[in-house]
Symmetry: C2
Subunit: 715 residues, 2 copies
């Protein structure tokens, strides 16, 4: 009886409140998020300036300070934030030496391997803090041998050398960076028998368009591209688990045995030093497509020039810091101030935005243009919260450490939180370098394509106020417009390829001459990258808007019909690789058909629910029904992972998207099938082609399982 | 405005309804479920009689008919039911021959290998349908050699033979069934160099207590224990995926290469034939613990008796049928009659009851005592539904096929529905043979121990109406009371060991003489197993009551504090195995401490929520908060699985519970650690002990991850 009276009283009261104070729809806040009254290029510039004042390599005190800066900034926006520290294996240079002995009677050249400051360089006073140029995880050692020029150092480049009778064994290779990940350059060299590797970036590869000459875009001849040569992800001493204090670790021997750290020493040099070395190489003239960007004619070698290369690095266990800010969702979860003995926040469904913070030097482009954009997003969300907005789902802003060494900060965190991430994360949105120049680029898992396009239609093009990002992006004749995320190029890798979480990666620009060099600083950004910081604002807008849609839309904005179409396209591409091999793709097409039907059905179901909810949604919380449909949408991508992983690369669980075996930056659809095809082409045995068929079946089953999940059914 | 009026009107109406027609609490229905007004031993007897009228081996037309019977019975109780068919590899006997050549001048004996009917045998007319005695998946072949008696055929038995200088190579072993799974008996024989194996059950092993002499309990001397000798699970041609039509299949060579099918021929024989063979074995006298249950003195051999064994089986792809009945949950899910374009039932959280249906012959004990109990549970639930009960969560009654061959029906279904099962199944409750005699037994994952005990306290002991099952169970001095589920003895294996779903296995009885023989029929059950079918009723009550608690309790009745204590106990047991090895269990104890804290915290949180909900729960559906806590409870067990699985036994993902490498029936805690210890004891190298430490770390991490899940947190 008492109960009934209570109900009546409360209904009357809340109806009155509802009548007088309706809350604005989410779209109101989303538009506000994009409006100039809320955005701030000045904030971004300030953050970038502060973050990049000193070099801040992972594991150094300077990068601990930048972590504190990010944490304090989040807190200043009233965001609940914290740091998670890991203890990871990193390497730093102790000594390096490179001596070129050309053909007699020319005297030897000892390269000084120093990036020089220039007149008026505002960073001259901290130049001594810049780490000597080196490769992260490079093998310590000394090697001496004739030089062989190996073009981009890809598998096909070595095949060409073999065809023209050039012996790489016992040589020091000189390779251009530009087509594959540098770790694969060193590994390919080792597998070809080289005893050392020197990498440089040729003028030809500094970027296309107008002036390719690097000095015109801020790269003095002494600029060197530092970087990691590790071909794994995460702390190499803790494969598959998190580097917490006192954790288990693999030994040095075990790590070297894994094949993921290089086994020959290597060094990066400037393009000027590279050209110098090339001047000492004779023998056959290189083919036209192997020639460089200047006047010098390149020869292959071996020799007559000799290189004496020496590198000594130290292995340390260093502390790295991931910084997080959490904006709790209002409906998922619901907060219960009196809910029990423990802290109230129940975190239920998450949208993640991620960017890394560690840099090889000052990091203005890579990665702190992204960090600055992330911090400015945080500021915008604070402004929205001040006027009453709360996201439906929880938003977490993630700032990773040690990405440069091998996606370490993000990977350790994913490995530590695997189960919760798998059951609760809706999507992961990554921005590494937000801006390096003009031109918008994006990669995504296909169910997010539509959201990406819709969001791009809401954000003004920073370089042409008469159109949206979408219009210039679509008009750029870039095909395909949206790339795919197989490669290990940034922190989305562990989320997508290890756990199976839908992901996006965004950036403005492309190749740029100061990449990973001492000259990637605030001055360069102001001068060349983004003078008005409006591209930064645009990235922040698009990034943040996607996050808001994912956090606020009642139904997750995923389209699996589009995913099925994309898979159909990729499978048709595969048909070309399999002509006359006897391998059948029928199971794939069948499974894709099931996914297509499932995608179509769930789209229809959602439409039906939205049309019929009407008045009902006010009285009865249909939250469990909406939650059930959303769970299917959220979990479908997981089904593309197979717990047994890729053959001989077990950590990679995703069967649709994963890195090419020979280029960690190269995105491959169906990496397992492709690995098997490559193997079968080499061996050409019926057993090896049978393995290809097996991999086709594996992917087909994963797609069929995704369809089952999307249908929300069991057989 | 209009909205407000609607709200007010509806609140008044529903309060009035609530006032006049409150619905009974779930406990009312649970008590009713147990009451004699609802239970029916007569129904059980009738079902058992019908199911066991003809032999019904997996894949035969007779077992298709039993599937229809189960389906129709479910439907007759108004339960939504369906069949899922798989196409699986099975084997059937074509021809068998066993000839004993004793020492000259005695003439050879050709065994007829036939189980004979007896006078008045009501099953005499269908005796011709009984399959000739054989081993499922036995190797076809002929072998001739001296006999070696190998006791139970365990690894330690072969070690003893080696110690006393007996050469097994080239022999036909005679082994007693009774300590390990028969597939391991054949495999151990093969690994010791034997060329054939004959298995029998010794009188000593027919069961303890009063008259062990089998005829006293219905087993004529011609009774033979048929069974599978496959050491894998699921269809051997589809490891890790479902045997759907036109699926990928492994070839015969690949299957034989997997190590899971035997590579020497084998046959089962009666105890009488076994004793006959033993009479022809000379050489050393067997140790006391190797002697049998009669007057004959057993010798080891080899010879002088020779056996000529011949077995020919056919490999077929047969159709098997799993039958399901679904009782949809009311709150999880909510049904929306007008919810959209597709059928409304949204199945959200599941409680599974499972039993298999296929038998080697008539299957009265194994398994149809369980099937009959399952059908009677269905009847009881129908009666509850008729008076208004609906479970909170969905209940699915599962009746598997081809369990006898290798848990095939359940494993294929788990492999097909892996993702949905992982994200939605609360628990799996198994009953294989419900009753084979007196005495209650149960095994469970530890978070279910308390529920098991509470339920046992609600059900009357069928053999002593003055007490509950719990009282006689606790009083039976059986220690530990609740066993653990590492072995592959029944259909819980795929649920627990492959996916990580909490599980229970229940039965009345123990060893019984007619196991897997032609004499396991309705007459035997009436005479020896359960004359009044009250043990069947008791099993149904306990089984069903646990399911009702899991389906109806607002918070899942899981206790992770108990799980932590059990893990602590198991780890302390492990300490004994690791004295003076240098292997540290500190990581384990640390992780268990975290689990203990997490278990304690969530128990406290639930208590707090229940105390404070009071009036609130009527107005605001706190379903998302309850759902969030329950999700943590549901998902914690999953964290004990590691996607990389056990070393060299990758399909087994659970790191706490899994089968011993040498006895598929043997339950092992920490199977990975134990495998590594066994290996290290053999090799005694520092690398092999290092592997033990690695396995300890792996389990520790899984336990730590489970704690994270239970806390509902990410770092």
């Amino acid at each position: 009886m008492l109960k009934s009276i209570f109900i009546i009283l409360i209904s009357i009261t809340s109806s009155l409140i509802f009548f007088f104070f309706p809350s604005p729809p989410k779209s109101f806040y989303h538009s506000l998020f994009l409006s100039p009254s809320v955005t701030s290029n000045v904030s971004i510039a300030n953050h970038l300036y502060t973050l990049t004042r000193r070099p801040h390599v992972a594991g150094t005190p300077q990068n601990s300070e930048t972590a504190d800066y990010v944490l304090n900034t989040f807190s200043s926006y009233s965001l609940k934030s914290h740091i998670v520290t890991y203890h990871v294996s990193l390497t730093y240079p102790l000594s390096r030496s490179l001596i070129l002995t050309p053909q007699q009677p020319s005297p030897p050249t000892k390269f000084d391997l120093i990036q020089k400051t220039y007149e008026g360089d505002p960073y001259a006073e901290v130049a001594s803090e810049v780490m000597p140029t080196f490769h992260g995880f490079a093998k310590s050692g000394t090697a001496s041998g004739p030089i062989v020029y190996v073009n981009y150092g890809r598998v096909e480049d070595y095949e060409r050398l073999q065809n023209i009778g050039v012996n790489v064994s016992g040589s020091i290779v000189l390779a251009k960076y530009g087509q594959i990940y540098r770790g694969d350059i060193v590994r390919n060299a080792y597998e070809a028998g080289a005893i050392g590797a020197v990498l440089y970036t040729d003028r030809k590869d500094y970027g296309s368009g107008e002036k390719w000459f690097p000095e015109a875009r801020g790269m003095p001849p002494t600029g060197v591209q530092v970087g990691s040569v590790y071909t794994g992800l995460g702390d190499p001493t803790t494969p598959g688990w998190a580097s917490v204090e006192e954790c288990e670790r693999k030994s040095v021997e075990e790590v070297e045995g894994s094949g993921d750290v290089p086994l020959i020493p290597s060094l990066p040099v400037s393009w000027a030093d590279g050209e110098n070395i090339l001047g000492a190489v004779g023998g056959q003239v290189a083919d036209d497509d192997w020639q460089g960007g200047g006047d010098l004619i390149y020869h292959i070698g071996p020799g007559p020039g000799f290189l004496n290369l020496s590198y000594k690095g130290e292995n340390v266990i260093a502390q790295i810091h991931n910084v997080f800010a959490v904006i709790e969702g209002e409906e998922e979860p619901e907060s219960f101030p009196d809910a029990g003995t423990e802290s109230t926040a129940i975190l239920c469904r998450f949208v993640l935005l991620g960017n890394h913070r560690d840099a090889w030097t000052f990091g203005a482009v890579d990665p702190n243009s992204g960090t600055a954009a992330l911090l400015e997003i945080a500021e915008r969300l604070w402004k929205l919260q001040k006027i009453g907005w709360k996201p439906r789902r929880t938003i977490i802003l993630c700032n990773w450490d040690a990405e440069e060494y091998g996606l370490i900060g993000s990977t350790e965190w994913v490995e530590e939180n695997r189960e919760m991430l798998a059951s609760r994360v809706v999507a992961y949105l990554n921005v590494d370098s937000a801006v390096s120049g003009p031109g918008f680029h994006a990669a995504a898992t296909p169910q997010l394509d539509e959201l990406l396009k819709q969001s791009a239609q809401k954000v003004q093009d920073p370089d042409n106020s008469s159109q949206t990002i979408y219009e210039s992006w679509a008009g750029s004749a870039k095909s395909p417009m949206i790339e795919r995320l197989g490669g290990g190029g940034s922190d989305y890798a562990a989320f997508l390829q290890h756990v199976g979480i839908p992901a996006v990666d965004l950036f403005y620009g492309g190749g740029y001459p100061v990449y990973h060099s001492m000259y990637d600083d605030y001055v360069w950004m102001e001068k060349f990258g983004d003078p008005m910081f409006q591209r930064h604002v645009a990235v922040g807008s698009l990034w943040g808007l996607m996050a808001l849609r994912l956090a606020d839309d009642k139904f997750l904005p995923f389209d699996y019909l589009a995913y099925a179409k994309e898979l159909q396209k990729s499978t048709k591409d595969l048909e070309g690789d399999l002509t006359d091999t006897g391998v059948s793709l029928v199971p794939m097409f069948k499974a894709i058909g099931k996914l297509r039907d499932a995608g179509s059905n769930i789209n229809g179901l959602i439409k039906g629910i939205e049309e019929k909810q009407g008045w009902k949604s006010m009285w009865k919380t249909d939250s469990l029904q909406v939650r059930e449909v959303n769970d299917r949408l959220m979990m479908a991508e997981r089904a593309f992972t197979d717990r047994d992983g890729l053959f001989e690369r077990q950590w990679y669980k995703h069967l649709i998207y994963g890195p090419s075996k020979h280029n960690d930056y190269g995105s491959k659809s169906f990496p397992g099938i492709n690995d098997a095809i490559e193997n079968a082409r080499k061996l050409n045995s019926s057993k090896s082609w049978h393995s290809v068929q097996h991999e086709v079946y594996r992917v087909s089953r994963a797609v069929a399982h995704a369809a089952l999940v999307l249908n929300g059914k069991m057989t």
